[in-house]
């Protein structure tokens, strides 16, 4: 198989990194609070994206020629665009992380100009994060494999899944941070704060938002299937049966439909409006997040493998 595990693991990691950033930025902007959640998303996203890039480079037939990607800017090639988008996103995220790290040296907080600059870069990076999550789908959709190219909604499915897995990552990251003194101390090394704490209220609301995102993902997946079934591209209809009844039916129905979508949706709705001080609620939301993240990987795997069958 031409594109195998390193590719779909990369698509999953890059999507999750971008998705977590989008989710945390929107939460930060819309609530006017949760600055630490936004920083946590940036700190978690950088290593995920870097690991993804290492996988991608290692999977090249000629890994030492990866720099050829950096001397070309080819608008018609999603891989070329993705290279630049990913690089821009990671570099801006690193600049933000460095500024936050340096905050400790300003006793009265960041100077106004620097603060404005970080605000501007944070906002700009949301655009790159949206393009990053979109590109993971477009990379496959711009091809001649019927399962990938036959429906324009594949990027929609990947974007929704990226944001859903990103939210799940934020929930788990926040839970671990809140539960572990070591994690809080480690985060304090990166970003000085009197007390690293992401409120339980925010975590519970994020689980509710994830339910909404999962509904969008379900609709996108349904639309993707309907579009594929009616596509004029030869083999598109048949490729749908690979997922629904063919060799990938088990991972699709169990891993994607149940694990990534229906189980988390049920768990999130069952705990809607509840606070996670209750251990049972916390466990349910944690389990829901694990399902979303695991299911997100299976989604990338079945689509990547299925397109090449």
């Amino acid at each position: 198989m031409n594109w195998s595990a390193p590719i779909y693991v990369y698509l999953w990691l890059a999507g999750m990194a971008g998705g977590a950033y989008i989710a945390a930025y929107l939460t930060y902007r819309f609530t006017g609070a949760n600055r630490q959640l936004f920083r946590l998303a940036t700190y978690m996203g950088i290593p995920l994206a870097v690991i993804g890039v290492i996988l991608l480079v290692a999977d090249l037939g000629r890994p030492l020629r990866f720099w050829h990607l950096l001397i070309e800017f080819r608008v018609t090639s999603p891989m070329s665009m993705g290279t630049w988008i990913l690089m821009a996103w990671v570099l801006i995220a690193i600049v933000l992380a460095v500024v936050w790290w340096g905050e400790r040296y300003f006793s009265n907080g960041l100077p106004t100009n620097l603060k404005r600059l970080t605000d501007l870069l944070s906002g700009l990076n949301v655009i790159f994060a949206v393009l990053l999550t979109t590109y993971t789908g477009v990379l496959l959709a711009v091809s001649n494999q019927s399962m990938w190219a036959g429906s324009v909604l594949l990027p929609s499915v990947f974007v929704a899944s990226a944001i859903s897995t990103g939210i799940a990552l934020l929930i788990l990251g926040a839970m671990i941070t809140n539960a572990s003194t070591e994690a809080r101390l480690a985060l304090n090394q990166f970003s000085f704060a009197k007390d690293w704490k992401i409120s339980n209220h925010t975590i519970a609301r994020l689980a509710e938002v994830d339910a909404g995102v999962i509904i969008v993902e379900l609709l996108a997946l349904f639309g993707y299937g309907v579009w594929l079934a009616n596509s004029s591209l030869e083999g598109a209809g048949e490729s749908l049966s690979v997922l629904l009844t063919g060799p990938l039916a088990a991972p699709f129905w169990i891993g994607v439909v149940l694990m990534a979508l229906l189980i988390p949706l049920w768990l999130d709705f069952a705990n809607w409006g509840k606070q996670i001080e209750s251990k049972a609620v916390a466990r349910a939301i944690g389990l829901s997040s694990l399902c979303v993240i695991g299911g997100g990987l299976i989604l990338r795997a079945v689509i990547t493998i299925g397109g090449q069958i």
């Binding site: 031409n2 819309f30 080819r74 001649n144 994830d210 909404g212």
Partner: protein, 257 residues
């Protein structure tokens, strides 16, 4: 004036001389093959097999078709290559082996499944149209060796005329679905086929599409989805809730005053 190759499937006798000549001229390695239940050998194109005669058995006889790079005018492989390794040299679509990074995108993008990644060298490889020969006034090796005249090389416009005439003759001679393939597909192919049957019966897409077809729509689909998610769950559950609670609070405060 551009050159082209015309493959007349009504004349092909599946001797596979083209396969051997291609291997010899281009110094391509032999590959281990296995019996796949037909006379086809090897079972698929690869980084070391750039032309391969496909066999299709049906009642009343065989359909043979040498499968190789079409050298499309609108070449998907060239469009998606992120390293700029694939380009047109005149009518020939070539992969610069010194620039190819082995990402495999051309493998996924080609509507005819032509380029293949070389497991040893790591780069993508395919038919070069014997560019070293044709730029020196020679025919490609596959054409030169063809004993039945099924493969021809020449001016594309001449071969299109010839192909259309032949398809017409075949239709009159009891092959109602005979057609010339490649005259208009993907901006015009430089490997043209006289097919005795419909393209799909002969293993070719009826309507090959450029991989970048609808690319803008696909980008927009993802971006719009992110926008919908930002508005529906996020705005509704965070911003709207915050506004409602603020409104409620200000009303309560107003009431106290």
């Amino acid at each position: 004036m551009s050159k082209a190759r015309l493959i007349d499937t009504s004349k092909c006798m599946a001797c596979r001389g083209c396969q051997v000549a291609c291997k010899q001229w281009n110094g391509l390695l032999a590959v281990t093959t296995e019996q796949g239940g037909t006379y086809e050998n090897p079972r698929e194109l690869s980084a070391n097999t750039w032309i391969r005669v496909e066999f299709r058995e049906r009642s009343g006889g065989w359909l043979f078709r040498p499968h190789t790079c079409m050298h499309c005018t609108d070449a998907s492989c060239e469009k998606v290559c992120p390293a700029g390794a694939i380009s047109h040299q005149g009518e020939v679509v070539t992969i610069d082996q010194a620039r190819c990074i082995g990402c495999g995108y051309c493998v996924e993008a080609c509507p005819f499944h032509i380029p293949h990644k070389d497991e040893v060298g790591g780069t993508s490889r395919k038919c070069t149209f014997c560019i070293d020969r044709i730029t020196n006034g020679l025919e490609p090796a596959c054409v030169k060796t063809c004993p039945s005249g099924a493969l021809q090389f020449g001016e594309r416009s001449d071969l299109v005329d010839q192909g259309n005439r032949k398809a017409q003759q075949l239709r009159a001679a009891g092959f109602p679905n005979a057609n010339l393939y490649g005259e208009y597909e993907l901006g015009g192919l430089h490997t043209l086929y006289v097919l005795t049957e419909r393209p799909s019966v002969m293993g070719l897409p009826e309507n090959p599409q450029l991989a970048t077809h609808a690319a803008v729509t696909k980008w927009l689909a993802g971006i719009v989805t992110a926008g919908v998610i930002a508005v529906v769950p996020f705005w509704l559950l965070f911003r709207r809730k915050k506004e409602l609670s603020e409104e409620k609070q200000s009303k309560v405060e107003g009431g106290v005053k």
